[in-house]
């Protein structure tokens, strides 16, 4: 059920490197620019793509992703349009794993069963839903696994050894380690602590462990790539996009390129660390 995700990590392992996972907000700043950005991500070096589903009240996100969500919503983005973007992406690219990331309410209101069916058919491989801890697995996690979608769990610095088994119990695809206690795009993580944490999680699961939150450039990506199976970058890409918008927050001719340029830098950072020696 998670063949695309497994195949992609297998490919990265074969190349002796960590995977680059990129996050952009679906519909930011408008539908067509957003699609142009998405379709260019794999070409620029992204191995797995995460598309944010905008929500008015993103309580775990920092200012960059909050603003991106509001830009997207202002442009009329909704769940139907986000799934449509996935379909368009999938028509051109049948290999890159697609993860949808967001909050539960828009999915709940869309209808869990309907959402899972439509997401699967559109070509989604996995879901990250920030406000669904293991205590609420009945809501979406278990139905998603039955529907053949990976439910990717966030593990955090506060997830201790006692709690880790519960967090890892119904997960699939990969584990997303949140490098800091905090919101997206905030502090730069302590790379030493992150690598210790990744080792700790790996003792509990055979799944790949990717690390995100606070990764801003190629050097950060390289530092994370030493210990982790993948590096997630989101807010930094959104900041790069935002820097090109006009005063009315509309896309300009530089918008797509600003994102892909940073993705290339991150990709080089990830590829600069050979993991063959360690394997």
């Amino acid at each position: 059920m998670t063949q695309r995700i497994e195949a992609r990590f297998e490919k990265c392992r074969a190349e002796g490197r960590a995977a680059l996972v990129t996050y952009v907000m679906a519909g930011d700043p408008d539908l067509e620019t957003s699609f142009e950005i998405m379709r260019n991500l794999p070409k620029a070096g992204a191995d797995i793509v995460e598309f944010g589903m905008p929500f008015t009240d993103p309580m775990a996100d920092g200012p960059a992703i909050q603003a991106a969500g509001l830009r997207s919503l202002k442009g009329g983005q909704n769940t139907i349009k986000t799934l449509d973007l996935v379909r368009r992406f999938r028509r051109e690219d049948s290999d890159t794993p697609i993860i949808l990331m967001g909050y539960f309410n828009p999915i709940y209101v869309y209808g869990v069963d309907r959402f899972l069916k439509d997401a699967k058919e559109a070509g989604v491989d996995g879901l990250i839903v920030v406000d669904l801890p293991p205590e609420e697995d009945d809501e979406l996690c278990l139905p998603a696994l039955s529907a053949g979608l990976a439910f990717i769990r966030l593990a955090t610095p506060t997830t201790d050894d006692k709690r880790l088994p519960a967090v890892l119990a119904n997960t699939a695809g990969f584990v997303y380690y949140v490098s800091i206690t905090g919101i997206t795009g905030a502090a730069t993580p302590d790379f030493g602590k992150v690598s210790t944490a990744v080792e700790r999680i790996k003792r509990h699961t055979p799944l790949p462990v990717v690390v995100g939150f606070g990764v801003k450039n190629g050097a950060h990506a390289a530092a994370i790539a030493k210990g982790a199976d993948g590096v997630v970058v989101g807010s930094a890409l959104i900041d790069a996009l935002k820097g090109t918008l006009d005063p009315q927050e509309r896309a300009t001719s530089r918008s797509v390129e600003a994102v892909t340029t940073l993705v290339k830098e991150l990709s080089e950072g990830v590829r600069s660390v050979s993991k063959r020696a360690a394997a």
């Binding site: 905008p54 929500f55 008015t56 009240d57 993103p58 309580m59 775990a60 920092g62 200012p63 909050q66 509001l70 919503l73 909704n78 769940t79 909050y103 539960f104 309410n105 828009p106 999915i107 709940y108 209101v109 869309y110 920030v130 406000d131 669904l132 801890p133 293991p134 205590e135 609420e136 769990r153 966030l154 593990a155 955090t156 610095p157 506060t158 997830t159 201790d160 709690r163 967090v167 949140v178 206690t181 905090g182 919101i183 905030a186």
Partner: protein, 405 residues
Amino acid sequence: MSAPAQPNSFRTGPDERGHFGMFGGRFVAETLMPNILELEKAYDEAKADPSFKADMDSYMAHYIGRPSPLYFAERMTEHLGGAKIYFKREELNHTGAHKVNNVLGQILLARRMGKKRIIAETGAGQHGVATATLCARFGLECIVYMGAVDVERQKPNVFRMKMLGAEVVPVQSGTKTLKDAMNEALRDWVTNVADTFYCIGTVAGPHPYPAMVRDFQCVIGNETRVQMMQAEGRLPDSLVACIGGGSNAIGLFHPFLDDRGIEIYGVEAAGHGLDKLHAASLSGGRPGVLHGNRTYLLMNEDGQIQDAHSISAGLDYPGIGPEHAWLHDVGRVNYISATDDEALAAFQLCSKLEGILPALEPSHALAKVMDLAPTKPKDHLMVVNISGRGDKDIPQIAEILGAKI
């Protein structure tokens, strides 16, 4: 949709996972889960500890000034010509509202847990003031998140909080009101999870907050039972309270839920009207998930949260506590609503007839008392919770009425 079957008792919730029927739960980021479980454990231990209750009782009596009076509103009763109206005088509490009952409980709990940094969200500022007050009393650091719009319309409370040593952070994100203040408080908590206690001001948020805040507010209803027995030799016939998140209402209602003959009315804020901008989640919303719990929410067809509107900053929230959502669905409480204009009229009437300036929040409850009382016989005992005093609203009301102060 048919109403769910009536339970044997309405007072047994929530279950161990924090559910009131389908509502409630723990919809939070993983980072917060260990903290929420720690809080639940600490609260369970405190509840079982007689010294915690003794501490609560002592501060309730000597610091807050409880019990608050149950006052026979004679002139209001005469004017409306029906039910005998009693005011539960929560506005006489130290800091001027019911909010302090809950804050005292949470701050004593934070001390037990060794947490030195307290964060809170506030709408009207009453919860922020109460939190700043108790933090001053116990020497704790206090950070209050308040929507930038509310900072502007509740200036007296902002200044009070600062005088009490709290840092007030104006929240510029989203709609810049209570829901955004709560988002920002949650972001702070996720960032400073190790040393920080989040003091939530209403019966919402992830389990155990809705149950814990309710328990701390039940002093209102428990006192009312005793006081009404002393005054009239029997229990009241009806209860009326305003609802934003719903903490003053659940505090009055909960001890009476199993007295099935008692009519209970929760009054939401209908703003400009239910067909226009309002804050009535039960009357105009649908079930959804926000701020850690499933409840009725104001939202669009895509699940995006919509702006609430009320003249009263304390009711200006697009959700409602999950226990109210359940009590609505099982039909035990009648949820009705009052508009901005109705609340303003009730504020003026109460001030002139009783010499009591109610806050704009309980003015919504009074507005419905004005509708309900005349339809009842003279021996009908009606209790309305005057959950806060109106001093904080004076600048805003003066502006609306075109007066210069």
